[in-house]
């Protein structure tokens, strides 16, 4: 009955017998007492879970009165229940902190990616930067197209600022056919643009890619002279 002894709910005579025995430094009983205390702790910290009914909780709380100082067990039980509540609150706070930490890490990663892209664009805007297959000192818009059966990507720089109501249009020009529209875009303040058109492309029949300046809503066919015309190298 060491558990009841540790709880302080043994009858007075039994309590005294055990106390005398423990004072005698019985190693086995002292070890068993520590085990009993551990078991009590486990049961008491499960108080929010195993407190069977609301009426039981009311009885426990209403029974905790200052004049019952001779029954410190009541405070122990209540303290343990409050401690258990604090543990659950702490667990929830820790979960939220962990989620916030994860969001921060994702934002930091995204920030690094944006920084990397900005650095790339700055490199593109540098007047000394040119496609490796073009001559140094070339002026005017510069750009490189990438093409696959699933779309077309353009990375361009040195694009002129547009008048209001105007936009750039990308075109895929099939062999022996009219140019087909491949999306509209506007460059940033530095004249840099990354334009990606995600759609099926018949790469084998594509002859060239080009840009033109069009009205803001776009058009079915180029209404201005195409530029940055790049042939598509066939298979």
């Amino acid at each position: 009955m060491l558990e009841l002894y540790a709880l302080g709910v043994l009858e007075a005579e039994e309590h005294l017998d055990i106390s005398r025995h423990l004072i005698g430094d019985c190693k086995v009983c002292n070890r068993n007492l520590r085990t009993a205390i551990g078991l009590n702790s486990a049961i008491l910290t499960s108080a929010p879970e195993v407190a069977a009914t609301a009426s039981l909780r009311r009885r426990v709380l209403s029974g905790v009165l200052p004049q019952k100082a001779s029954r410190p067990w009541a405070w122990i039980g209540l303290a343990a229940a409050l401690a258990a509540g604090a543990v659950w609150t702490g667990i929830d706070s820790r979960n939220k902190a962990a989620e916030l930490g994860e969001v921060r890490r994702e934002k930091q990663f995204a920030d690094r990616e944006v920084e990397r892209l900005n650095t790339s664009f700055a490199f593109l805007r540098d007047p000394q930067t040119r496609p490796a297959n073009s001559k140094p000192g070339a002026t005017g818009p510069r750009g490189t197209y990438f093409i696959s059966p699933t779309g077309v990507l353009l990375i361009a720089s040195n694009l002129a600022a547009l008048d209001p109501g105007k936009t750039y249009a990308m075109w895929v020009i099939p062999k022996g056919q009219s140019p087909k529209p491949a999306g509209l875009f506007r460059p940033d303040a530095n004249g840099t643009a990354v334009h990606f058109r995600s759609e099926a492309v018949d790469v084998e029949s594509a002859q060239a890619l080009a840009l033109s300046v069009e009205p803001e809503a776009g058009s079915a066919a180029p209404t201005s002279t195409p530029f940055l015309i790049t042939p598509v190298v066939g298979l």
């Binding site: 070890r31 085990t35 551990g38 078991l39 486990a42 008491l44 879970e49 195993v50 029974g63 820790r94």
Partner: protein, 88 residues
Amino acid sequence: MMTADTERPALFTNVEGAMIQAVQLDRVRTALARLTDRQRQLIELAYFEGLTQTEMADRIQQPLGTVKTWMRGALKVLREELTTPETA
């Protein structure tokens, strides 16, 4: 696992401790489920109302000897469930 050294306070201050506490709660629930209704009632009266066995006997209108027998049985079950190593 409850051992003679497991007398740490119920409050944990880290995530690992919270996980251990959750496992421990589960073990307590399992242990209490093994008790009879009478045994469980006596455990609640002792742990959550702080009654002595004499007071319990008076509360539930049973002989003191009967209460002591039930309580001994309840604590035996709880010790078996909560003070033996968990198996893998």
